[in-house]
């Protein structure tokens, strides 16, 4: 499979999902003269479906998917995981604890840095940014169950 084939199929599928959702949630389509809430999305979804199909059809000459170079995928997967953890924990554990744990995870588990430097960095980031944004710039950041 080439990159253009994969991208084209992906875009066409996304267009199809939008059409299916419009149909499933019974959004009024309206008419050409008086478009309803589903009309413009449906037109765009059809356009995406068609352009995806053309990109896929013309994509024989594009580079193969494996040739693009995905060597950073382990790092990327770990970063995505840490980001997901931050989204889940932000309002449950509070800003400072979440950021500290995220930094420790990234530095010690992903980057294999020494535990001491990871802890110092994590504490500096968590408390430093909290002080800068919440205390000085008055950006409200969530506090956790332990009061910080």
């Amino acid at each position: 499979m080439t990159t253009d084939r994969v991208a084209g199929i992906g875009l066409a599928l996304f267009g199809a999902v939008i059409l299916e959702e419009s149909w499933r949630s019974r959004l009024p389509l309206g008419s050409v003269a008086m478009p309803g809430p589903a009309y413009v999305p449906a037109v765009l979804a059809v356009a995406l479906l068609v352009s995806g199909a053309i990109i896929a059809a013309q994509g024989a000459g594009a580079p193969r998917l494996g040739a693009v170079g995905w060597q950073e995928w382990r790092h990327a997967a770990a970063i995505i995981g840490v980001c997901a953890f931050m989204a889940l924990a932000f309002e449950r554990l509070g800003y400072r604890l979440t950021v500290a744990i995220a930094c420790v995870l990234l530095l010690s588990l992903v980057e294999r840095k020494a535990a001491a430097s990871a802890l110092i960095f994590a504490a500096s980031m968590a408390f430093g940014t909290y002080y800068l944004f919440d205390t000085l710039l008055r950006v409200q950041l969530p506090r956790g169950p332990f009061g910080f």
Partner: protein
């Protein structure tokens, strides 16, 4: 003209007040840092600092955010010249000849030429902004829904045309962005669309999480795990002065880059990036010694650096005069002033003269600040690059998450940032541009609303778009661009956009 000068004088009285000077300085320093740090572009920098502007008034907020924008253009050249790493995408072309000059021991001269060129371009282009924005705003008062519909369509077509590579792919990306922008409550009927039961999506996808995800997080995902950056070439202070010959060689490229950058800046798209590519191509074309390009040509630094700075002022023209963002960065800046209850659009200049003229005057002041920051203090900024990347990217990630969360105090925005970050990373791998997606998200609700209002006005007749001269002209220009692209495809010729795509990948056209 007299009226303009009077307004400018009033603007300087705002811009030279200590609080505005302070926020302009803060913006310039942060912008330079953002430009110096690889992986953090001006968009990510502005998005991260957006929540910090909520406590300020609209003038201070826009002055600081604009300082970040044009400050990043100055700072981006430093890493390009001294390390061959573009601090931000607009400095890619500066890497080629700037680094070659540094290897010949002329790194200091290259930095000076880049900074002086940026200063001249920044200052001259503000004159263009000052003279062009008010009459354009007055003209735009004639715009109704059909004209705005045509303008948005033209904006998307121009962006697709200006993008490097395939126009079909860019249009597909724009369609993807428009579809993502239609998530949420339909403004005309109140129907809840494509939200899959997530109540927080009622207001739609915010431009900040989408932009930070597609640009900032995608960049981190693509570059994490890379080896330590190469050694930094540190010029001494006395080496900063270019020779007379180098000044002479830089003179015309600076002026050409300034004019070119300003007009490209007005057009929708990633203007600051495109302008530097086009300027480099122009300088190579007009040079008497094109063989020097790639081996330390002064014009290869002076032209692109002037162009990308000039483009930042150009991008402010449609933003301030029409209230229409020409790309993701002006879109975030518009969001910043809307937070303060200021309505963007043609009436902005009339209703908020202190904001508009104070902002213009602050840009003059900011350019002087940046010249001072980027020459004698260059060594200070270069030191930041000594921070190893394994420590740098977690910090960027924390700032990104913090910035996105703080806009609406919503964890859903953090999830949107993560999802669009993964999408942006995959799209980059598959060689698709992500700027049209962001512009699509911004324009989707505006485009759909103006289209449906136009049809309501005309009793459902599409003829309204060709019967009104302004709308018809705008659509005709859009159609011409599509035809131009089809012509190039039919001839299977390698036009300037294809050459730009090859240059971005580091391949000779």
């Amino acid at each position: 003209m007299v009226e303009t000068l009077g307004n400018l004088a009033a603007g300087f009285s705002v811009a030279l007040s200590p609080p505005i000077l302070f926020y302009a300085f803060v913006g310039c320093v942060i912008g330079t840092l953002v430009g110096v740090l690889p992986g953090v572009g001006p968009l990510a920098g502005i998005s991260l600092l957006l929540p910090a502007t909520f406590g300020l008034d609209a003038t201070r907020a826009i002055v600081m955010l604009a300082g970040i924008y044009y400050g990043a253009m100055y700072g981006g050249s430093t890493t390009s010249i001294l390390m061959r790493i573009p601090g931000e995408a607009a400095s890619v072309m500066t890497c080629i000849d700037g680094y070659a000059m540094a290897r010949k021991g002329r790194g200091g001269a290259a930095l000076s030429i880049a900074a002086v060129g940026s200063y001249i371009a920044g200052t001259v282009s503000i004159v263009g902004l000052m003279l062009l924005a008010p009459p354009l705003a007055a003209f735009a008062l004639r715009f109704g829904p059909p004209e705005y519909t045509a303008l948005y369509v033209l904006g998307l077509l121009v962006l697709a045309y200006m993008s490097s590579g395939s126009m079909l792919k860019s249009l597909a990306m724009a369609a993807l962005g428009l579809l993502l922008g239609m998530i949420g409550i339909d403004q005309m009927t109140g129907y809840f669309r494509y939200a899959y039961g997530v109540v927080e999506l009622g207001d739609g996808l915010g431009v900040v999480p989408v932009a930070v995800g597609l640009f900032g997080i995608a960049e981190i995902l693509a570059t994490a795990g890379q080896p330590t950056p190469p050694t930094v070439i540190k010029p001494k202070l006395r080496e900063l002065l270019p020779s007379r010959q180098e000044w002479r060689e830089a003179n015309w490229p600076i002026w050409r880059g300034t004019v070119l950058g300003f007009f490209i800046g007005i057009l929708p798209g990633s203007a600051h990036i495109i302008s530097s590519f086009v300027s480099y191509a122009v300088e190579k074309r007009v040079s008497r010694r094109p063989e020097e390009f790639g081996h330390g040509a002064v014009a290869g630094v002076a032209g692109p650096e002037s162009a990308n700075n000039s483009a930042t002022s150009g991008a402010m023209v449609p933003m301030l005069a029409l209230g229409v963002p020409s790309g993701p960065i002006p879109a975030v800046m518009l969001a910043a002033i809307m937070v303060h209850g200021v309505a963007p659009g043609p009436l902005l200049i009339q209703q908020q003269p202190a904001l508009f003229w104070g902002f213009i005057a602050s840009m003059y002041v900011g350019n002087v600040m940046l010249l001072i920051l980027n020459l004698p203090l260059v060594g200070l900024f270069v030191n930041i690059l000594r921070v190893p990347y394994p420590y740098l990217y977690p910090a960027i990630l924390v700032f990104a998450t913090l910035g996105v969360y703080a806009v609406n105090n919503s964890v859903v925005d953090v999830w949107i940032m993560l999802a669009t970050g993964v999408l942006g990373w995959i799209l980059r791998k598959l060689d698709f541009e992500t700027a049209p997606v962001v512009l699509g998200v911004v324009l989707a609700p505006l485009l759909e609303l103006s289209l449906r209002q136009s049809l309501a006005m005309s009793d459902g007749r599409y003829g309204i778009f060709v019967q009104r001269p302004i709308a018809a002209t705008l659509l005709a220009v859009g159609a011409a661009l599509v035809l131009l692209n089809l012509y190039a495809v039919a001839r299977r010729s390698v036009d300037w956009r294809a050459k730009m795509a090859l240059a971005e990948k580091g391949e000779a056209p």
